[in-house]
């Protein structure tokens, strides 16, 4: 189907990519600018904002906190999401199908509603807001993602493989460990990396469920409200680079491989 515009596909693609990556490049550019103000023309290049960041105790603290939350919540999400995906693959019962729909609800509801309702519950039960409350909230967002990713892998799974292992002498547990698990591992890993990145970037849920401590996004949020703080540019650039890397690695390991094969 050709419109009268020759070369339009690449125009669309190029233009859109430029648009999508624009903010990324600009932030990165200005993070090296030796000026308190983000703007052209660039007077000089410097890395002092990064150096400032390195010496910034708040950055260290909230960075560490975010990483801890992300790591632990991802592990928990994998531990509870993967078995659920296996259960959904094994059973076609009405109950299981209903549960599969229920598991996806956290990804569909506006984050604000989720955060607010969790906060309301904690308040009602007089639960103090700590590391554990933030963690619980993050798992709520990650576990369904793991469920979906592993579930998608299981849909195309060849169940005659563990059957073959059993006929060859493996018990059910051995067949799972030696055949099913290694084949699921790439999907689980890809999902985990995505979940980690999403947890690091989580803003709304963290906003409502942290007590005194701060996550990295919350730190950026509070710094942003003070207008001209160039270290935010540096923080933002670092952030973007790291999550971009995570996305690339996740794709490498699983994910788009299926889309590629189909196209």
């Amino acid at each position: 189907m050709r419109l009268r515009l020759p070369g339009w596909p690449w125009l669309v693609i190029g233009g859109t990519l430029l648009f999508l990556y624009g903010p990324v490049f600009v932030t990165g550019l200005f993070s090296f600018s030796d000026s308190n103000v983000a703007g052209f023309p660039l007077r000089a290049l410097t890395v002092r904002w990064y150096v400032n960041l390195w010496h910034d105790p708040q950055f260290r603290e909230s960075g560490l906190f975010s990483v801890k939350i992300a790591a632990v919540s991802t592990v928990i999400a994998v531990l509870i999401g993967t078995p659920a995906a296996l259960a959904a693959a094994r059973s076609r019962s009405v109950g299981m199908r209903f549960l599969s729909g229920f598991y996806v609800v956290p990804l569909l509801l506006p984050a604000l509603v989720l955060a607010v309702s969790m906060a309301a519950m904690f308040r009602l039960l007089n639960v103090r807001l700590t590391f554990w409350t933030v963690l619980a909230g993050h798992v709520v967002m990650s576990a369904p993602l793991i469920f979906l990713v592993v579930g998608a892998r299981l849909r195309g799974f060849d169940w005659s493989l563990p059957d073959a292992a059993r006929v060859l002498g493996a018990s059910q547990v051995q067949a799972f460990l030696r055949v099913t698990a290694p084949l699921l591992a790439p999907a689980v890993l890809g999902g985990a990396i995505l979940a980690f990145a999403i947890s690091m970037d989580n803003f709304v849920v963290s906003l409502f469920l942290t007590g005194g401590s701060s996550t990295l996004p919350l730190l950026i949020w509070s710094r942003m409200r003070e207008f001209f703080d160039p270290t935010v540019n540096a923080m933002a650039t670092l952030y973007i680079v790291m999550t971009l890397l995570a996305a690339v690695i996740a794709e490498r390991v699983s994910g788009l491989r299926a889309t590629r094969a189909a196209s």
Binding site: M1, T16, L20, G39, F147, A236, T237, L244, V248, S263
Partner: protein, 306 residues
């Protein structure tokens, strides 16, 4: 499981029990696998939502939350402030969803049907664009659209303008631009996945049978991609409407987003029950619109195909 060796003929009842036992064991193991996630989500999503509903009926008296039941909060939700905020958010959400889907559709079409080599790299680039801090992105837009931001300083430096253009930021347009930028990669995926299932020969058949490019798009391509489009549209609508950081930072005085109004009930204003009621109203409105859209898309795709 040992065999019953030496036993001439086991009674049918014993055999049936064994099969019965095996299927019970299987059922139990499935339940055990699904239990952790179910319990977690029930405790942290279902129960809290229920509690939110309960909260919405309570009241605040002298900065204390009082457990008295009334519909007062719901009446208060329909105040001008909240309704205007809701309308604002919905307008932003619908515009964002529409623009995002058009761009994502064009992009997906181009990649699916017109790109021969380097497809994998392109796909990676598009998906990777969704990575990157949400907040940092907002900050970046300020740096691009602001009075001393990239665009303005560039234009001034090359003497195209004499002063900063004020209309670039702190209005609805800026909010929509930032939201579209955020959501295009996410909207791209369902649409692209849908297009993968479309055989290019079907489109060629449409042309051969006499449909021009626009007609072909409308009568052949769109019905086939309705599902992906609808999914993306509803998805972007939900998240764009509910966003509160972007409108807060880039929207300026043109109007509070509903999310901000709700959030302030839980923050400074300390009227949790009212906030709860607003959240519920918001959920219902959004849910209703999404459901209507889904039904409309389903019916439309069938009609268009005729």
């Amino acid at each position: 499981m040992t065999s019953v060796a030496g036993d001439p003929v086991a009674p049918a009842a014993v055999l049936r029990n064994r099969t019965h036992r095996r299927s019970i064991a299987r059922l139990l193991s499935t339940v055990a696998l699904a239990a952790p996630l179910t319990v977690w989500l029930a405790a942290l999503v279902a129960v809290p939502l229920g509690i939110l509903v309960v909260y919405s009926f309570w009241r605040v008296v002298a900065f204390q939350i009082v457990h008295v039941y009334s519909l007062a909060n719901y009446r208060a939700s329909f105040s001008r402030v909240f309704l205007r905020a809701l309308e604002n958010s919905l307008v932003i959400g619908l515009s964002t969803a529409a623009i995002t889907c058009v761009i994502a559709f064009a992009l997906a079409w181009a990649v699916r049907f017109r790109v021969r080599r380097g497809k994998n790299l392109l796909l990676l680039a598009i998906v990777a664009a969704s990575a990157g801090s949400y907040l940092a992105r907002i900050y970046a837009w300020r740096g691009i659209l602001g009075a001393q931001g990239a665009i303005n300083s560039f234009l001034t430096a090359v003497h195209l303008t004499s002063g900063p253009l004020g209309f670039l930021i702190f209005n609805r347009g800026a909010v929509i631009v930032a939201l579209v930028n955020l959501f295009v990669p996410y909207a791209f995926l369902p649409i692209y996945a849908n297009l993968l299932a479309v055989d290019p020969e079907i489109l060629e058949a449409g042309r051969v049978l006499g449909a021009g490019p626009i007609r072909n798009l409308r009568h052949v391509a769109l019905p086939l991609t309705a599902v992906g489009l609808a999914t993306s549209f509803v998805y972007v609508l939900i998240f764009a409407t509910g966003d509160f950081a972007i409108p807060t930072f880039l929207g300026g005085p043109t109007g509070l987003p509903a999310a901000q109004v709700i959030q302030s009930q839980f923050g400074e204003i300390f009227n949790w029950p009212l906030g709860a009621a607003m959240a519920i109203v918001y959920l219902l409105v959004l849910g209703g619109i999404s459901a209507l859209l889904a039904v409309y898309a389903g019916r439309r795709s069938r009609r268009l195909a005729r």
